[in-house]
């Protein structure tokens, strides 16, 4: 028993810096945010320490609940397209021969690591009226006048999908890479069509990757307001931009905190529901 305790003690000691840091700078602040969301803002500066539920009631006002719905819709659309484009990419990449795989990996990682503002800026160049896209389309006689895509909803979606795509690709790739391809061959050998083998074997076994990819896309897309800011102008208002406005301009911290708590609750709830739903689907698939 002594040795066991010693091992536990030294393990705890090693984990201690992270424990302290996490409690002090992640857990603590989150608790404070929660507390803050129940306080009242002072007329000029700071907050009043008394219980106040008004912040949450204020979220229910159509202006704000509408923004919530809008953010949610954008996150859903983004996640949908990211899955649509990202899943095949990750899956195909895992099937490449090793030499090509490494090359594809490097090619995929470089944009992922490249500053996202720089990449979005590239899209501005493309979308700008009389920009690259317009010039190409007009030159090919596919369009007669500039499309004026910049500062539109589609531009925002393209930007979001573009920035978040690598997360999906990477998750799908890492679970598809672990896939034992002889299982697929066995299914084919047993008489499954290509599609059926994919649905019953490959897709099912890469589910964890797909799931974490969806999570890694959906959560940030609820908060990535700067893409909408850059590519959508002022036309697309998201929860993120309102929180920022309340914090930095209106200086209403309690309300910003309440918005954040609501946003966190919304994302957690979606995740929870998603997990529940996929699990039940899993069970049906087993039969």
């Amino acid at each position: 028993m002594k040795v066991k305790n010693r091992a536990a003690k030294s393990s705890l000691l090693m984990a201690m810096p992270m424990y302290v840091f996490t409690i002090l700078f992640t857990f603590g602040p989150l608790i404070y945010m929660f507390a803050l969301s129940f306080m009242r803002r002072q007329a000029t500066w700071g907050v009043i320490n008394e219980f106040y539920a008004g912040n949450y009631l204020r979220i229910l006002e159509p202006v704000f609940s509408g923004v919530f719905a809008e953010s949610f819709k954008l996150a859903l659309i983004t996640t949908f397209f990211v899955t649509l484009f990202g899943y095949p990419f990750g899956y195909f990449m895992a099937k490449l021969p090793p030499k090509h795989k490494n090359r594809a990996m490097l090619l995929m990682i470089v944009p992922f690591w490249t500053n996202s503002l720089m990449r979005l800026y590239g899209w501005i160049i493309i979308f700008r009226s009389n920009g690259i896209l317009d010039s190409v389309l007009i030159a090919l006689h596919l369009s007669e006048k500039p499309l004026r895509l910049l500062y539109t909803y589609p531009a925002v979606v393209v930007g979001m999908v573009y920035v978040l795509l690598p997360f999906m690709i990477y998750s799908v790739y890492s679970s598809a890479e672990k896939l034992d391809w002889s299982l697929v061959e066995a299914a084919r050998d047993l008489g499954a069509s290509k599609t059926y083998a994919f649905l019953t074997i490959s897709l099912r076994l890469t589910m964890p990757g797909l799931l974490s990819g969806i999570i890694l896309t959906f959560i940030p897309s609820m908060g990535l307001y700067f893409i909408a800011d850059i590519l959508g102008g002022n036309k697309v208002a998201l929860v993120g931009s309102i929180i920022q406005e309340q914090l930095l301009r209106a200086r209403d911290w309690p309300f910003a905190a309440a918005l954040s708590v609501a946003l966190m609750a919304a994302t957690s709830l979606t995740l929870y529901l998603y997990r529940r739903i996929t699990r039940s689907e899993d069970l049906e698939g087993l039969v």
Binding site: K2, V3, R6
Partner: protein
């Protein structure tokens, strides 16, 4: 023999499963002892407790008379050759072997000569700067042994060290391990699930089953006089026949079994006429004859024949469906499946088992 290692009532549980149920073992100086058993019998756990990598839930471990039960592995004069060798992948052969010497702050010059000697000993001279992934399985094995003995431990623990090698290399390494042990004079505690390996190499065999020792004895003793059905079958695959004692005849008992009677050694056990007993018979102690009046023996019907390792195995069935396998040299055989035969016991070839544990 001087007792070097003593295990006293060692118990170990992992969760709800009891892996060791209070085992006792004494190992002498310079001995080659093998822990033999199928996978999951607790042999690796026993070894890890001796090394200090596991702490027992009950019982004590004594090394040279000193209680080391709670002593950390780095404070014990015991070294281990791991099943997968566990050669440090980021160090070359010399650095691997020198690891324990460096910890002891041995001078650079001494380390160099010791490493060289160790490599000579395991017949890998000049391999100092190779990396583990550049070595074959057999070579890794040798380096792992060199690394473990360079420290001159009192006991060397070997956890199925030959398990990953092919058959030919295995046989060769068995001889070499034996040679090494004699040359170094270190106590070896060796783990294997291969009974032939155990019989071939060990001074003593400790046969393990479900967390206890089934029998601890010399190879000869365990082969010729297995104590239990399990021991008889696991080591050398003996035939097991049940029967009733007809009468006693000096050190032997005459037992009535299906299709005739046999004579088995009683090993001094207290038995009397009419007792139900179990006997073990080695396949090579049975002679197979045609079923005619000229021959005596147990009446049986041939069911199967197989040939391997220069040995023909003929399986026959007694009237009560007990299957008996006889061995003989060469492939020639006049019997075919379905033939009636008589199985005769060569002199003193049967022994009673399971005497203590009730029948």
């Amino acid at each position: 023999m001087e007792a070097l290692l003593q295990l006293e009532g060692i118990e170990k549980r992992f969760g709800d499963t009891e892996v060791l149920e209070g085992i006792n073992l004494t190992v002498g100086k310079g001995e080659f002892i093998t822990l033999l058993g199928s996978s999951g019998c607790g042999k690796t756990t026993t070894l890890r407790i001796i090394a200090g990598l596991e702490v027992p839930d009950g019982g004590r471990v004594y090394l040279s008379g000193k209680d080391v039960t709670n002593l950390a592995p780095d404070k014990r004069d015991v070294n281990m050759v791991f099943q997968n060798y566990a050669l440090f992948p980021h160090m070359n052969v010399a650095e691997n072997i020198a690891y324990s010497l460096r910890l002891k702050k041995v001078s650079k010059a001494d380390i160099k000569t010791t490493v060289k000697d160790a490599l000579d000993l395991v017949q890998l001279p000049g391999y100092e700067s190779r990396m583990p992934n550049e070595l074959s399985g057999g070579q890794r094995q040798r380096v792992a042994i060199a690394r473990a003995v360079v420290n001159k431990p009192k006991i060397l623990l070997l956890d199925e060290p030959l398990g990953a090698l092919d058959l030919q290399l295995r046989r060769q390494m068995q001889k070499e391990l034996k040679r090494l042990q004699t040359a170094l004079g270190i106590t070896f505690i060796y783990i294997t699930h291969d009974q032939e390996e155990a019989l071939d190499m060990s001074d003593r065999i400790a046969l393990m089953r479900n967390g206890h020792f089934e029998q601890i004895a010399s190879a000869e003793e365990i082969y010729n006089r297995p104590k239990t059905t399990y021991a008889a079958q696991f080591v050398g695959g003996a035939n097991i026949i049940k029967g009733t004692v007809k009468y006693l005849k000096s050190e032997n008992a005459v037992i009535e079994v299906s299709g005739g009677e046999i004579e088995a050694k009683t090993r001094g056990a207290q038995i009397k006429e009419g007792d139900r007993v179990t006997a073990a018979i080695r396949g090579e102690n049975l002679e197979i004859n045609p079923a005619s009046e000229t021959y005596s023996g147990l009446a049986a019907t041939v069911t199967d024949k197989s040939f391997s390792g220069g040995m023909l195995r003929i399986t026959a069935r007694l009237a009560d469906n007990t299957e008996i396998t006889c061995h003989r040299q060469g492939i020639d055989c006049q019997y075919a499946a379905g033939d009636n035969v008589k199985l005769a016991l060569k002199d003193a070839g049967a022994v009673l088992v399971d005497l203590e544990g009730g029948i």
